[in-house]
């Protein structure tokens, strides 16, 4: 639908129900672009009194004069023309009235290339009509839009089977479509409130039952509209109030947020997740300040809240307030069913920002479980979720956030995903996973080592830098160890505390129980990461040189280390690495003496978003070290830049 018009006069022509008692419902009409959306809207506007009969006659006359059959979609075109002349008010929203509802029809473009606008529109809707052409049946776009309605959380859906006149109002055709679409939607957990056979062009089933569908006894389109309810904030779910900010006004510390679900009152004990801190609600603040004795004492779902607490606790934006008995999980690992809109595919190792309510965390994709093409309704094995596809992934977060499974709480069980500073997708939290081998709170990981006699400030004062982990990944022979050793020398010479962890060196001892299966490689990386993380916590700049070919394993490494982690992809063409073959391994692999050798008969998954890429076929060793040093400096790792030291590593 390109014509998007509203007219303020509709209100005056519809049924005279007191404005104050009318429910306002926002709807979208979605489905395949050619299945008759404009015609249905034109018909609806006419039958709800939005278009006068005079206007209609005028349009019919114009059509006749042009020798064209009259089309209801002309109504939209004509309103569009009026808009251009400044006669009616235009929005992307059409307003009309049913006997008991004010309806706002939100524009949700059907064309695939406007999917982000369809999503923006549909996400605001309380209810949706999914439109299907009776002659064409359920199409890719129908299923795709159905799937998106499910992901967007639009719970009220009615299916309209249009153009029944083109199939001779045959019940069998209708029933076949009804069965197919109902099964599809049911598979998504969506129950269609009605499946309605209509002919928008001829009027059957829109505001009155047509005589040509005697076999149908369900609601008309108008009746279905009248049964839609405004989506209300869920007061019956457990209390969830994501913290937007903590304000300090006039000596009051005010915790501000919106009550997404549940309710609260003064005197309630509340808990903030993920910090786990608790307090009692002392007052509910509001402005204008109510007269003494009339202060607010309770708030329901949907309310904008400002609370003071009975004690001074440090809570911050992103935490979720709940009752102690029913609190959200604190987690660093989420399984999410998502839609993806960015050009760049989402794959294992992709680094993005996850937003859940007001919280924000860096995250990496650890596993791609499945990719679905909702158009073809096929699930396929893939490691990439492309543009406009949906799929299920596991996300590892760099810090714990509070979350609910979507089934328990839709408001705090969904996330937006940001890539390169733009919202690129969104999804439902299918499950909140216990992050195995990743303790829920970083504190648990550093219990003893950090209880050191030497303080952080003392270390920085002596060594001139914070702790950091530089993780060099790349093919065997790409130059990781060479660069790591040169860098070790450079940082040591400037007075730093630097430790080189070489994958092969650790395999000689700590990791001698591990082989080269995928699982063993992943465990090897995990141990390297844990050791690196401990040393980082003690102020070391840790240089890790490890092939680490699996993106998922590296994603996990990033999560284990958390802060101050720098992934450096040491890259060189395979031929060059093989020509260098410093350890003679490629020759052995080619000869079949080594199996599962990365680059030969095992894959190397290049990082998609490393902090730095060093191309050793283009950059010499000293320049490579310069780059890494500059990266660390840029990230604020160095606090007192040491005196320049000649690069005399001589490696």
């Amino acid at each position: 639908m390109s014509a998007t018009v509203t007219s303020a006069n509709f209100a005056s022509l519809a049924a005279p129900v007191a404005a104050a008692d009318r429910q306002l419902v926002r709807i979208v009409i979605v489905g395949h672009v050619d299945h008759g959306k404009s015609t249905l809207i034109g018909r609806l506007l006419h039958e709800t009194g939005g278009i006068t009969s005079q206007k209609l006659e005028q349009l019919k006359e114009i059509s006749a004069r042009r020798g064209m059959p009259f089309e209801w979609s002309f109504l939209l075109d004509s309103l569009q023309a009026e808009r251009d002349q400044g006669i009616t008010i235009d929005t992307s929203q059409i307003r009309f009235q049913t006997p008991s509802r004010d309806i706002i029809l939100i524009d949700a473009p059907g064309h695939a290339e406007f999917l982000r606008n369809m999503i923006t529109g549909a996400a605001q809707a309380d209810a949706a009509f999914l439109l299907i052409d009776a002659a064409e049946g359920v199409r890719d776009q129908t299923r795709r839009h159905g799937y998106l309605l499910h992901l967007l959380g639009v719970k009220q859906v009615a299916v309209v089977v249009n153009k029944m006149d083109r199939v001779g109002f045959e019940e069998a055709t209708f029933r076949a479509i009804e069965t197919e679409i109902s099964a599809y939607l049911a598979g998504l957990g969506v129950r269609a409130s009605a499946v309605i056979p209509i002919s928008a062009r001829e009027g059957d089933g829109v505001s009155a039952h047509g005589t040509r569908t005697p076999w149908y006894d369900g609601p008309t389109v108008l009746e279905a509209l009248d049964r839609f309810e405004p989506a209300r904030a869920a007061g019956d779910l457990a209390l969830r109030m994501p913290v937007q900010a903590v304000y300090k006004f006039d000596d009051r510390r005010i915790v501000a947020g919106r009550i997404e679900t549940g309710s609260l009152k003064v005197g309630d004990e509340v808990v903030f997740q993920p910090s786990g801190k608790s307090a009692v609600v002392k007052t509910i603040e509001s402005w204008p300040v109510p007269p003494a004795g009339q202060e607010l004492t309770a708030l329901d779902a949907g309310a904008a809240a400002g609370l003071t607490l009975d004690r001074e606790i440090f809570v911050e934006r992103g935490e979720i307030l709940s009752t102690p008995a029913a609190r959200p999980h604190a987690t660093r690992r989420l399984r999410v069913r998502l839609f993806w809109l960015a050009e760049e595919a989402l794959e294992v190792g992709t680094s993005l920002i996850v937003r859940l309510a007001t919280s924000e965390s860096r995250a990496t994709v650890a596993v791609v479980h499945e990719v679905v093409d909702p158009g073809h309704l096929s699930t396929f094995e893939s490691r990439r979720i492309g543009r406009n596809q949906v799929g299920e992934v596991e996300l590892l977060l760099s810090r714990p956030i509070a979350a609910d499974p979507h089934g328990l709480n839709p408001r705090t069980g969904r996330v937006a995903l940001e890539l390169g500073g733009r919202i690129a997708g969104g999804g439902l939290v299918i499950s909140v996973l216990d992050a195995e081998a990743v303790p829920a709170t970083p504190a648990a990981r550093h219990i003893t080592p950090v209880a050191s006699a030497v303080t952080f400030e003392e270390r920085v004062g002596r060594f001139g830098h914070d702790g950091a982990v530089v993780w060099l990944t790349g093919l065997s022979g790409s130059g990781k160890s060479t660069i790591a050793r040169a860098l070790e020398r450079r940082l040591f010479n400037r007075g730093g505390l630097v430790t080189l962890l070489d994958g092969d060196t650790l395999r000689a001892g700590l990791n001698s129980d591990l082989g080269f299966s995928d699982a063993d490689r992943a465990e090897n990386n995990r141990r390297l990461a844990e050791v690196a993380s401990l040393l980082r916590g003690l102020g070391h700049v840790v240089l890790v040189a490890a092939v680490s070919p699996a993106a998922a394993a590296r994603a996990r490494v990033r999560t284990i280390v958390g802060e101050s982690f720098f992934e450096v992809h040491v890259s060189a063409p395979l031929e060059l690495c093989e020509a260098r073959d410093p350890k003679g391994l490629y020759a052995k692999a080619r000869a079949g003496e080594i199996r599962g050798f990365t680059g030969i008969d095992a894959p190397y998954e290049a990082p998609t978003a490393p902090e730095l890429v060093i191309e050793t076929d283009k950059l010499d060793q000293s320049a490579a070290v310069d780059r890494i040093e500059a990266m660390l400096a840029g990230a604020g790792v160095f606090h007192q830049p040491g005196e320049p030291v000649a690069d005399d590593a001589g490696i």
């Binding site: 404005a19 008692d21 400044g86 204008p288 690129a424």
Partner: protein
């Protein structure tokens, strides 16, 4: 409580949420105060969001051609509401694109004044009181709308916005437009103004059979025929009128695309 009251509560809560999100995520924010009914409602909502305070500057980009009543209103309520008011001038008409139609060209001064003010104070976000129901191009707006370095708006390339997650990342030097009342209608504004008893400029009420529906520069803003002398009258009038809100704003109607050209160049 009536359904209408519930609806105003919902609108209010949504606007407060947007204000708080913007304030939490942006570094230097300012609110654009045009002195009209919409921006007065916005200031009211900001004070609700921040418990009586407006914790950022309120900027009036002044063409110098507003009505006397508007300046009186500004000077009185800036003090009464405790606002950190910044009045910023606009460059003269001679510096505007001469290919624009006359009233559009005059309105373009405000865009340039805004650009100069943004540069002067280094604001990374400005809060503007536009609404989807006002005008076609505004209908396509997002709640958080990033602008290019020139303040320009790329309507085709807007990222998606859903579940109250907003795009707030900007390239250096660009700024964000924040629209906390985008989802309100003209009727909502008046109903809320009435319920909350928010002060308004008397030019909105009928005098000798005419009133202003929308306020702008004196020379390019015209009253409409109306007998509505109170907010109650206005609410009744709006339920039946076929005249669009901005019909008295000359620059909207000089040519089919004049307002669109203004908006693409950074007009509100």
């Amino acid at each position: 409580m009536s359904t209408a009251d519930d609806r105003l509560d919902e609108l209010e809560a949504q606007s407060i949420y947007i204000f708080r999100e913007a304030f939490a995520r942006m570094k230097r924010m300012a609110l654009l105060w045009s002195l009209g009914k919409d921006s007065n409602v916005m200031i009211w909502l900001a004070r609700k969001a921040f418990l009586g305070h407006v914790p950022f500057p309120v900027m009036h980009v002044d063409t110098g051609k507003k009505f006397r009543e508007m300046y009186d209103f500004r000077d009185h309520y800036a003090g009464a509401w405790g606002l950190d008011l910044r009045v910023e001038p606009c460059p003269p008409l001679e510096q505007m694109d001469p290919t624009l139609p006359p009233a559009t060209r005059s309105a373009a001064r405000k865009t340039e004044g805004l650009k100069m003010a943004l540069e002067k104070f280094g604001f990374d976000a400005v809060v503007a009181g536009i609404r989807r129901d006002e005008e076609a191009t505004r209908a396509k707006e997002r709640v958080f709308s990033p602008r290019g370095l020139e303040g320009d708006w790329n309507v085709r390339e807007q990222p998606p916005e859903f579940w109250d997650h907003f795009n707030a990342t900007l390239p250096a030097g660009a700024h964000l437009r924040v629209h906390p009342i985008l989802h309100w209608t003209e009727l909502d504004i008046w109903a809320y103004t009435q319920r909350e008893k928010i002060p308004v400029i008397p030019l909105y009420f009928s005098k000798a059979g005419k009133r202003y529906r929308s306020l702008g520069d004196q020379d390019i803003t015209f009253p409409v025929a109306s007998e509505a002398a109170t907010i109650e009258d206005i609410l009744i009038e709006l339920a039946t009128t076929k005249v669009p809100e901005r019909s008295g704003r000359a620059m909207d109607h000089e040519s089919e695309d004049s307002f669109e050209r203004l908006r693409v160049a950074g007009y509100l």
